[in-house]
């Protein structure tokens, strides 16, 4: 049985098609999940993609967090299912309290779409096993409210427990300690402001490259699922 990776669509989600493609390119079977449907349809991992769920009105991710599908995602995450939230998905995970902190308006006030350099700091999460700790990668960001914020105690704890997954080399939005992505304590839930699904092929990835630095997020989880014998290679 091949790995089945679900991609959730909320009303206002934009990057679901991209995430589904990334899952497919990585070699897993992409499965569309609909926000009103609490059934996870037997998926082995879940991506909450980018976009503007519910228009990003009120707060990014605030309304999506109450969708029926999120009840199931939260339960599955607590049981260890790998969950990746990208951009708006990261915001949904924070609003759901699966991840600490919050994402607020960028320091520059503006929406920023830019290829950024990151270091992958934690190579032991479900989604980053394919990277080397400290590896530098290029992945696009595109957000208006991507400034990661948490109280000092939480930030210290994230650092101390190796849960800072990725850090900006040139902090584009004033994120606390240049944090671009974090994980939960178990390492199965990862939230990331940059968009790895936009860096998976030479034709459409960052220019001038490297163009495919995002792909390992998707191949890593596949490898993790195979290693844990949840699915066949």
């Amino acid at each position: 049985m091949p790995a089945r990776i679900g991609v959730v669509t909320f009303p206002g989600t934009q990057d679901d098609a991209d995430a589904l493609r990334a899952v497919r390119v990585a070699g897993a079977e992409p499965v569309s999940l609909w926000h009103r449907d609490a059934d996870l349809h037997g998926v082995d991992a879940i991506v909450l993609p980018g976009g503007f769920s519910y228009g990003d009105y009120l707060r990014c991710g605030a309304i999506a967090r109450f969708s029926p599908v999120m009840e199931s995602v939260i339960a599955a995450a607590h049981e260890g299912m790998p969950v990746l939230g990208i951009c708006n998905g990261f915001q949904v995970l924070c609003e759901s309290h699966l991840l600490p902190g919050a994402l607020i308006r960028n320091d520059g006030m503006l929406f920023v779409n830019r290829d950024v350099r990151l270091t992958v700091e934690a190579a032991d999460t479900a989604w980053t096993g394919g990277y080397k700790a400290g590896q530098e990668i290029v992945i696009p960001i595109k957000n208006g409210e991507g400034k990661f914020t948490a109280d000092e105690r939480t930030l210290d704890e994230l650092e101390a427990t190796g849960r800072v997954v990725a850090r900006y080399l040139d902090n584009p939005n004033g994120s606390a300690r240049a944090i671009a992505g974090v994980a939960n304590a178990a390492g199965n839930v990862v939230g990331l402001m940059p968009h790895p699904e936009h860096a998976i092929d030479e034709l459409t990835g960052p220019y001038p490259g490297p163009a495919t630095d995002g792909l390992p997020f998707f191949t890593s989880v596949l490898q993790r699922l195979i290693d844990s014998e949840l699915v066949n290679a």
Binding site: P11, G12, T13, Q14, D15, A17, D18, R21, R36, G50, G51, F52, Y54, G55, D56, Y57, L110, F111, V112, N113, R114, P140, K142, H195, E197, H198, L203, T204, Y207, P208
Partner: protein, 756 residues
Amino acid sequence: MSEHTYQADTVERAEASPETEQPYEALGVKDDEYARIREILGRRPTSSELAMYSVMWSEHCSYKSSKVHLRQFGERAPEVDFLLVGPGENAGVVDVGEDLAVTFKIESHNHPSYVEPYQGAATGVGGIVRDILTMGARPIAVLDPLRFGPADAADTHRVLPGVVRGIGGYGNSLGLPNIGGEVVFDACYSGNPLVNALSVGVLKKSEIKLAKADGPGNHVVLFGARTGGDGIGGASVLASATFDADKPSKRPSVQVGDPFMEKVLIECCLEIYAEDLVTGIQDLGAAGLSCATTELAAAGTGGMDVKLDLAPLRDATLVPEEILMSESQERMMAVVTPENLPRFFEICEKWDVISTVIGTVTDTGRLRMTWHGETIVDVDPRTLAHQGPVYERPYHRPDWQDALQADAPDAARLARPAGGEQLRATVLRMVASPNLADKTWVLEQYDHRVRGNTVLAHGEDSGMIRLSEESGLGIALSTDGNGRYTKLDPYTGAQLALAEAYRNVAATGATPLAVTDCLNFGSPEDPEVMWQFAEACRGLTDACQILGTPVTGGNVSFYNQTGSEAIHPTPVVGVLGVIDDVARRTRSAFETEGEVLLLVGETLDEFGGSEWAHVVHEHLGGLPPKLDLERERQLGEILVAGSRDGMLSAAHDLSDGGLIQALAESCMRGGKGARVVLPGELDPFVELFSESAGRAVVAVPRSEEKRFTDMCVFRNVPVARIGVVDGDTLEVQGQFEIPLAELREAWTGTFPKLFG
């Protein structure tokens, strides 16, 4: 005031009170137009009918001043076999092969964007995307050609940031990549910015949708946002003038968009299309329900009964006249058979989209509307949709045109830089000037990646979108326009706009196919403006014939002026191209050291309307660059063939700022320098800064130089070797050398300094 106490002006009342005075002038209806309405109806119109005629016969909706000139786009169009839907529908549709079709159109939202830049621009994007959606297509990209007053003017600092945020805010929230556009500054746009937006969509050839209400008994469904009081200043005049008793509550002066609503509306429509549940569909744009009902009815079986009081409202105090004129965003109207209705509603419910049956298709030939049971509209819909007034506006060549053209920017008139030092300083000044400077500050606010099919976007000659992951089939789009050229010579100026967009598309390796245009002009009541308009239309038509690219649709925006001062006539032209495999796209970046740089095309001493004359001398006079459209076509073929045969490593079209600007951009984009040896006998300044049309610079591997050059010679297009890609400076031998870092600082510094 509740709706029930509102005493509607019924047909019965209209018949009984022929002498009632009606405030038609306040609605922009002329005496003779009002007389014609009475003649058509055989009585005075009800206030609701008057509201409808006033909007449907407005310049914006009826094209009454432009129609006689626009006709030639269709009548003298080049013979092609790929045009599936031509001008006249919501957007043109072009066959791009593999069972796929593409629909694209450009529109303006100039005036609203001046009043409220964010919402004006945002709703401009929303409107054009709905036109694309209406054709049955999934919208897949947007472009935004923009014009503002001087970059350092206070008002530009109010307008530009808001416009850019609005286009980004709305387009990004729809999940549509922004793949191109323009940002141009000129004092003529002070107080009248141009905010044009182009959208493109893709559909199966067999699934084109049309705006017609066919089949008596079919339901007329209004779905999407509720109707509010947006954009109904005029209607309120009418309502309150006729019935001053209970004045309706205050009406908003600006339309506010809800991109989230539009996003779900798009997905909802696409699901409805996929199951083939509509027999006709129309978006609600300008003139809202008036336009949608009349156009659907006029194009279909011919009749429609509507219960207007069933329209879901955002503001319960709206009266029928206002509901008919409301321009509330994010609404659509569909014609649905009774069998399909339950499934249609189900899909709307899935997407939380409100949908309401408000009427029925009939074969009466009449559009009838009732308000709580009383008939308030009873008209032949064709008289509204198709039989509006047509004006043969007088036009004549302005008296000042000769003097303007005589004021040529020749060397005797405008001091030219001479010698390496002066040329070097001019290059740095030019790359930093607002029209030529790096637009990253703007472009970073737009998502160009969403949907994952963007092969080329900002910084390239045209945007390119992959349509098929299997075959690599794709499309390219570019928009261009030059108000200064068009002011100097409207006929040639319009052609130059087309030629530049055409060249841009070809430069990326795509074959130019078809055209959409947004004609931004001053008042049509000014015979000199009308002459500019007539000349531009004639020029565009002629050029389209030679290039073989039909106009498929577009938009006219008149009355772009501050007081009596009109903007430069500004036709903005969008060209759509097709490419069989996006993997062979040509970028503009110089990437590989040692590759040969070739200049294709001929350079003349042409500075009329040039960026150099504008920036350095604030001068506008003379004639625009000459245009040889046959040569332009040859150049296009060379660029496409060069891409197809794998000869080209880079290509960049030459336009504003001339050769040196193109070289600078390609160097900075690829992070590689260039060593340039000027070929001709011309003054180096002319070689570097002239804006002669029909030119491009290309980089080819040494092994391909001969083959490429032969191809040019064979087609009788001049080609000259001008240097190599090399090092990290831009060097013009014997003249000057500029380190890329210095060039980049000048080029990238301007926008952050102005707006950051």
